[in-house]
Symmetry: none
Subunit: 304 residues, 2 copies
DNA sequence: ACGCCTCATGAAAGTAAGTTTCATCCGTGG
DNA sequence: CCACGGATGAAACTTACTTTCATGAGGCGT
């Protein structure tokens, strides 16, 4: 079934560049070379002829066309135009901040800070731009009406999962997070129709998370995937797919930008769910806030 | 060559559209028809093929080309691209995002997303701007040369603390994070000169964290505070103070923006430390990356 | 290991788009 | 009335884009 090449991608809001970055790993090697050129210099690429671009990417025109189709364009001319538009819209980075780039070896700390913050902020913004409100809405509905919510995530994404769990818990939703696979699988097996399972994985290839989500789905739960890559395995076991838009950087394994982007999405979902029932959520928040009040000390800020 | 193709106008400032409008009267009738179409709908025209446009202007392709040359373009493709770029640029920004504002009660999800992302991104940017590189440098030095690094944080900040610990660990630094006060106190008591203690607290008033940091300091460890409020209690027990710049919003208890800001700072420190010894850090990262490789699944592409 | 299949890929054929050339038309002024 | 020059489109031509197809690499089951 899923075979259907419905890939279509009719909806690639936000940036085309962002969209392409996300698709990058799902492209064939030759197409990736093309994609990288395009992402690195959209404006420049728009000026090139297809033959030019093909040569630059050390491949054939045919591959460039395939690339166009892979990212949802009709053909090369359309890509060109979209690229030009995209490039025009984006204000170029003020200074030497390499977008999505690596930190140069000799960089001093001030530069490092500027670069990191720039990329982090961008990831957050771009993620928001390309988020599909309609899908979010559905996810929010599902969560708001869920009997139980299971949240899965390994490693770095585990933090995000855990954070989400805590948030939902604070507004009175029954949410769980499992740091270990076995417990998670057990829990997933107990899910059923009306429950929701959320899997978080930057790469979308973390087998533990994919498996658990699959399990959850087979039990009838609605499954949600949060990943940076729209065509990664996790999306195949998810009813709803939400993507982040962090560009890969080679050096920084932790992919902090990705983490921030994930948290932003989680936050949006959270606020969306909370907004479903303002009164109750607010009350729950107040109660939980009071609960930790005793752990606060002294005069702190001005507050007299 | 009497016509002298001196085309000139290599640089037509302001908008291309404006430029064309200006030239309009000096064009031949048929070219004017083309020009009018283009000016009326730049974006739409960019999508048309030359034949299309010629037909629409009730003229021949040749005339369209002449028009292109008349306005200083090399040919039709170039015009197309410029038009697309032009059209994209004049799209006005979606709408006014409320800076630091609360989410209005009736907001739809798209608005919520925009607002959250905007505030989150701002928090990250502003935090980076006000971070003192000199202090960061000192902290990085301390951590890079530390015998042991203890990281404390409760509740939401605990996630950040934990994340920091994991990061440092991955590049071979001896770092610990303690989710519970008692263990933390015990550990702090064992710190000494040359060790580093990092306390993370958004409000800066979390008693647990303050206490532990105090303990660490009394044992001779260098203490670092990461908080949003430069005059909060935690800063009184810290040798180095790093601040985030998240604006509070009333509704969102979790203060996600603050979390992101904290993470950004942590990331900067991390990269700073890693940069102190590129080679070793890189190696450590590679090794740890390999370690989780087996947990990745399949190709992830569309697979048929 | 073997054959089978799938997929990625570029060469080449085919089609469409863009460009040039040139003959025609039309108005103007001698 | 004719010569002239600019405007114009038809058609030839060139280049760009797209499709098709054969090849070969890599995976998979036997």
């Amino acid at each position: 079934m899923a075979k259907s090449p419905k890939i279509s991608v009719s909806h690639e809001p936000g940036g085309l560049i962002v969209h392409i970055s996300g698709l990058l790993p799902s492209l064939s090697p030759a197409e990736q070379r093309v994609a990288r050129l395009v992402v690195a210099d959209p404006a420049g690429s728009a000026r090139r002829t297809i033959t030019d671009l093909a040569t630059a990417a050390e491949t054939s025109e045919a591959t460039v066309i395939r690339f166009c189709r892979s990212v949802g364009m009709d053909g090369y001319p359309q890509l060109r135009i979209r690229l030009a538009a995209e490039a025009a819209r984006r204000v170029e980075p003020p200074d030497a901040r390499v977008v999505g780039g690596d930190i140069p070896p000799g960089a001093d700390l001030a530069q490092i800070i500027a670069t990191i913050a720039f990329n982090d902020a961008r990831a957050v913004e771009e993620t928001a731009e390309q988020l599909d409100p309609a899908v979010c809405e559905q996810v929010v509905d599902a969560i708001a009406g869920a009997g139980r919510i299971d949240i899965y995530g390994a490693g770095a994404s585990g933090f995000v999962a855990s954070d989400f769990q805590q948030k939902l818990h604070r507004i009175g939703r029954t949410a769980f997070y499992f740091p270990d696979v076995h417990t998670a699988l057990t829990s997933a097996a107990l899910l059923g129709r009306g429950d929701v399972a959320v899997g978080i994985s930057h790469t979308g290839t973390t087998s533990d998370v994919v498996e658990v989500l699959e399990q959850a789905r087979s039990r009838g739960a609605a499954t949600v995937a949060l990943t940076n890559f729209p065509r990664s395995p996790i999306t195949e076991v998810a009813d709803f797919v939400l993507t982040t838009a962090a560009r890969e950087t080679t050096y920084r394994s932790g992919a902090m930008a990705s983490r921030l982007a994930q948290l932003t999405v989680v936050d949006c979902l959270f606020v969306g769910v909370a907004a479903r029932n303002r009164a109750r959520a607010r009350k729950a928040l107040e109660v939980t806030a009071e609960a930790v009040q005793s752990h606060r000390v002294g005069p702190g800020r001005r507050r007299g």
